[in-house]
C-alpha cells in the first residue's frame, strides 16, 4: 500500500476516533471541536478542487462559506419566526430541515461561484487572487449594510436544525452527520480528480496551451471547477452555521478566506486528504496554543511561514513524499 493511502486512512479515522473517545470520556466540547474540524475540512476540500486541481488561487472562498451560512440563517430564522420569506408571486417559507437548507446553500453558492468565476477567470495570476479577494469583500460589506438579517450583529438560531430520523441536538449525532457529509464529499472529490474532467482540469493547470491544442477550453473547465468548489464550500458554511447556531458577516471576511486556504496548505495542496489534516491541525493549534496564549495567531503565523518556506508539501506531502500520484 502506498504511504499516502495509509496516511489517508489514518487521517480519516482520526476524527471519528477523537469524537468517540470524547463521547466515552463525556467531553462534549471535544466532540464539538472534532465536528468543527470536519466542517472546516469540508470547506477546504471544496477550495482544494479549485486550488489544488485547477491551480486557481481563490482568496475569496469566504463568499461561498458565508452564503451557505446565511442560507441556513435566513431559512431557519423565518421558520423560527413563522414569517414566510416571500408571499408573492408564490409562497416561500422558512425551514428547519437540514437537507433542504443544504440544497439551498449548495445552489446559492454555486450560482454565486458561477457569477464570480465567470468574471474572475477572465483574469489570471495575481489579478485572479486580488479579484476573488475583492468579490469576497463585496459580500462582506453587503451583509454588514443589509439590515434585514441582523446586519453587523448577525443572526442567532435558537435550536439546531433537524435531520429526518436523527437527534441533531446530540453532539455525537451531529458530528456523525457532518462527518458523513465530509466522507461523501471526499469520495466524490476523489472520483472527480480521477475523472476525465479531473484529468483535463489538472492538465489546464500544468499547461493551458496543451489543453487548448487538443480542443478543450481551459476557461470552461476552470469555471465548472470553480462552481463545484464554491458549492462544496457553501455546504460547509451551512453546516458551520448549524454548529454555532449563529451566522454573522465574519463568515464572509477575508480572514475566513485566508483560513480556508491555510487548511489546504497546512495539509498539502492537491492532496485529497490534505484539508482534513490541515483543518484538524488548525483546530488542534487553536485549542492548544489558544490555551497557552491569547496571542496564539503569532505562533500560527510563524508555523505557517515555516511551512511555506521550508515544508512546501504540507503535512501529507512531508509524510507521504513529494510525488502526487496519478494512477
Amino acid at each position: 500500500m502506498r504511504r499516502e493511502t495509509l496516511l489517508n486512512i489514518v487521517l480519516f479515522a482520526l476524527l471519528p476516533a477523537t469524537a468517540l473517545a470524547a463521547w466515552m470520556l463525556d467531553e462534549p466540547f471535544i466532540i464539538t471541536l472534532a465536528t468543527k474540524a470536519a466542517i472546516l475540512a469540508l470547506a477546504g476540500v471544496g477550495l482544494n478542487i479549485a486550488l489544488g486541481l485547477g491551480g486557481l488561487i481563490s482568496f475569496g472562498h469566504a463568499a461561498f462559506f458565508g452564503l451557505g451560512g446565511y442560507a441556513m440563517g435566513i431559512l431557519a430564522s423565518h421558520a423560527q419566526s413563522y414569517a414566510p420569506l416571500m408571499e408573492s408571486p408564490f409562497l416561500i417559507e422558512g425551514t428547519k430541515s437540514m437537507p433542504v437548507i443544504w440544497l439551498v446553500a449548495i445552489v446559492t453558492s454555486a450560482l454565486a461561484a458561477l457569477a464570480i468565476g465567470a468574471l474572475s477567470l477572465r483574469t489570471s495570476g495575481v489579478y485572479f487572487i486580488m479579484v476573488t479577494l475583492a468579490f469576497g469583500q463585496m459580500l462582506f460589506y453587503f451583509t454588514i449594510s443589509w439590515p434585514a438579517y441582523g446586519g453587523e450583529d448577525g443572526l442567532s438560531i435558537y435550536v439546531r436544525n433537524g435531520f429526518p430520523g436523527l437527534n441533531t441536538l446530540d453532539p455525537l449525532t451531529f458530528f456523525g452527520v457532518a462527518f458523513a457529509v465530509l466522507a461523501l464529499v471526499l469520495w466524490g472529490a476523489g472520483r472527480l480528480a480521477k475523472s476525465a474532467f479531473g484529468l483535463a482540469l489538472s492538465a489546464a493547470r500544468q499547461n493551458p496551451e496543451r489543453v487548448e491544442t487538443v480542443g478543450l477550453a481551459p476557461y470552461r473547465l476552470r469555471l465548472v471547477a470553480f462552481v463545484i468548489s464554491g458549492a462544496i464550500t457553501g455546504l460547509a458554511g451551512a453546516l458551520f452555521a448549524d454548529l454555532n447556531r449563529f451566522v454573522s458577516p465574519t463568515m464572509f471576511s477575508w480572514q475566513t478566506s485566508g483560513e480556508i486556504m491555510v487548511f489546504v496548505i497546512l495539509g498539502g495542496v492537491g492532496r485529497l486528504f490534505g484539508p482534513v489534516a490541515g483543518a484538524a491541525l488548525f483546530i488542534l493549534l487553536e485549542h492548544v496554543l489558544g490555551g497557552l496564549s491569547e496571542f496564539w495567531h503569532i505562533y500560527l503565523g510563524l508555523i505557517l511561514l515555516l511551512v511555506v518556506l521550508f515544508a512546501r508539501g504540507g503535512i501529507v506531502g512531508t509524510i507521504a513524499g513529494r510525488e502526487v500520484a496519478h494512477d
Binding site: 466524490g188 472520483r191 472527480l192 480521477k194 475523472s195 476525465a196 474532467f197 479531473g198 484529468l199 483535463a200 482540469l201 489538472s202 492538465a203 500544468q206 499547461n207 496551451e209 496543451r210 489543453v211 487548448e212 491544442t213 487538443v214 480542443g215 478543450l216 477550453a217 473547465l221 465548472v224 463545484i228 502526487v324 496519478h326 494512477d327
Partner: protein, 261 residues
C-alpha cells in the same frame, strides 16, 4: 518562379490556405504578407533561418496569436476569427517547437488528453478516465505509432527532449486531425530517431497533409513535396526540393549562409 500561392489549377484543392497574413511587433515585421497553401496528401515544408518568423506564423495558423491582417482558410471555412480551441476542434493538429505537455502526467495521460479532446469534451465527472479502455486503446495505438509504447507509464518530465517530440506527435495523432501543423518534430531525436520519424511522417501524409517547420534539411529534402523559404517574415521562394536547391535567391539569402541546418 514557382507557384507560391498554390493557384496551380491542376493541383489538389488546398485544405489550408493562408492569404496575406501580417503580424508586426512594433517596428519588427514578424510575418510580412505571407500566403501559402497546403493540399491534400502533401508535406509542405517551411524553412528559414532562426528568427525568420516560422513559429510566429505557426501560432497565427493555430490560433494562439491574432494576425494584424490577412485570413486563414481551413477546410473550406474562414477560421481567422476562431480561437485555438475552435481551430483544434475543426481539425488542426499542432505540435510545438518547445514541448508543450502536462509535465506532471505520465506519457499515457498526456495522450489520453488528446483522446478526450477528440471525443469532444471532458465534462465527465465521475467515471475514472483511466478505466476508459476505449480511450486507452486509442492512446496506446498512437504511442505505438511513434515508438513510445514502452514509455507509457513514465512521467513526462522524465522523458528526453526527443521523446517529448514523439509524444507531441502522438497527442496530435489521437486528434485524427485534417491537417498537421508540426513545429520541428525532429529536434533532439538523434540520427536513428530522425530516420524513423522521417519514415513515419512519410506515411502520415496520406492520412492528413503536414505543414512542417523543420531545421533538419535531410529530412526536409526527403519528405517535402513543396518547400517555402521564410526570411524576415517573407516567403522569398516556394517550390520543389530541386527548385529550392537551385534557386539563386534562396542560396544567397539562406542556403549560402553558414547556418544551413
Amino acid at each position: 518562379m514557382t507557384d507560391p500561392v498554390g493557384q496551380n489549377p491542376t493541383a489538389e484543392p488546398a485544405i489550408l490556405q493562408l492569404k496575406n497574413l501580417r503580424k508586426s511587433f512594433g517596428a519588427l515585421k514578424a510575418t510580412d504578407d505571407v500566403s501559402l497553401t497546403l493540399r491534400r496528401g502533401e508535406i509542405h515544408a517551411l524553412i528559414g533561418p532562426n528568427g525568420a518568423g516560422k513559429s510566429t506564423l505557426m501560432r497565427q495558423i493555430a490560433g494562439g496569436m491574432k494576425s494584424d491582417s490577412g485570413t486563414v482558410h481551413f477546410a473550406g471555412h474562414d477560421v481567422t476569427p476562431l480561437s485555438t480551441v475552435a481551430r483544434a476542434r475543426a481539425g488542426l493538429g499542432r505540435t510545438f517547437q518547445i514541448s508543450s505537455l502536462a509535465m506532471e502526467y505520465t506519457v499515457l495521460q498526456n495522450v489520453m488528453l488528446g483522446a478526450l479532446g477528440h471525443e469532444g469534451g471532458a465534462m465527465r465527472f465521475f467515471r475514472p478516465v483511466m478505466a476508459r479502455t476505449d480511450l486507452i486503446e486509442q492512446a496506446m495505438q498512437a504511442l505505438q505509432r511513434v515508438g513510445l509504447e514502452n514509455h507509457a507509464a513514465k512521467r513526462t518530465s522524465d522523458l528526453s527532449h526527443g521523446q517529448r517530440r514523439q509524444l507531441e506527435v502522438a497527442v496530435a495523432l489521437t486528434l485524427s486531425p485534417k491537417v498537421f501543423l508540426m513545429d520541428e518534430p525532429m529536434a533532439g531525436l538523434g540520427a536513428s530517431g530522425s530516420k524513423r520519424m522521417t519514415g513515419f511522417l512519410d506515411g502520415l501524409r496520406s492520412e492528413a497533409p503536414i505543414l512542417l517547420v523543420e531545421h533538419d534539411m535531410d529530412a526536409v529534402f526527403a519528405l517535402a513535396d513543396r518547400i517555402s523559404v521564410l526570411v524576415y517574415g517573407r516567403i522569398i521562394a516556394s517550390g520543389t526540393a530541386e527548385q529550392i536547391k537551385a534557386d539563386p535567391v534562396v542560396r544567397e539569402a539562406y542556403l549560402g549562409a553558414e547556418d544551413v541546418a
